[in-house]
């Protein structure tokens, strides 16, 4: 079964607005990563947050992690049409550190 579950499944916003996606997971983790997937393409790594971190920024991306609630959120500020994609969270394995378990993603549509 999938470790991470993203919410919402789909999100549609206007260009310039902020987009927030959430990820919940079941078991303890060492790291959580977010990936983006454009239609017909492979996944692209966006950002990693470690279990001892609460917040991380990268350009227009802000990721938070709440290990007590076993949840993470990805905020994209000032969204652009080019941000239209599916976004996945991935959690690492407890026994296999190199294994990432992906959720089913949030599909973001940014309207120009």
């Amino acid at each position: 079964s999938q470790q991470g579950e993203e919410d919402p499944q789909a999100l549609s916003i206007q260009e310039g607005e902020n987009a927030t996606m959430n990820c919940s997971y079941k078991t303890s983790i060492n790291n959580l990563q977010w990936y983006r997937q454009n239609s017909g393409r492979g996944l692209v790594h966006l950002i990693l947050i470690r279990s001892n971190e609460r917040e991380k920024h990268s350009g227009r991306l802000r990721v938070t992690l709440d290990t007590s609630k076993k949840s993470s959120s990805l905020l994209i500020t000032a969204s652009r049409a080019a941000d239209t994609a599916s976004y996945f969270c991935a959690t690492d394995g407890s026994t296999n550190a190199g294994k990432s378990t992906f959720g089913d993603g949030t599909t973001l549509t940014v309207k120009p």
């Binding site: 393409r41 492979g42 190199g98 990432s100 993603g105």
Partner: protein, 115 residues
């Protein structure tokens, strides 16, 4: 640096036929992954290699799927015989190693359609 290369990009076969996919990871990446991604879902790990050894193949349907990574570089994934439920995108990814937090680099996948 060159990315992860996969071929073919698309493949259409009939059920019970065989098919093979090829992956060339980023140079120097010791860890290679094959994922199956069904439409509307996230990638599901099929097999993970560290150099030419298998680290995890617990979700590989071994009665019909096989994979190898000879010489620890390129890899092939084979399905024989294919079933309708195998229609999916097969993604290959690589990373420097299997340490915690290593980002994975993905190819664009092979889209498989079973008729």
């Amino acid at each position: 640096e060159a990315g992860v290369a996969q071929s073919p990009r698309y493949k259409i076969i009939e059920k019970r036929q065989s098919v093979a996919f090829w992956c060339n990871p980023i140079s120097g990446h010791a860890t290679l992954y094959w994922y199956q991604q069904i439409l509307g879902q996230g990638p599901k790990l099929l097999i993970q290699f560290q150099n030419n050894g298998v680290v995890d193949d617990s979700q590989l349907p071994k009665d019909r799927f096989s994979a190898e990574r000879l010489k620890g570089v390129d890899s092939t994934l084979k399905i024989q015989p294919a079933k309708l439920e195998d229609s999916a995108v097969y993604l290959c990814a690589s990373s420097l190693g299997d340490l915690p937090g290593q980002p994975q680099h993905f190819g664009d996948g092979t889209r498989l359609s079973i008729l």
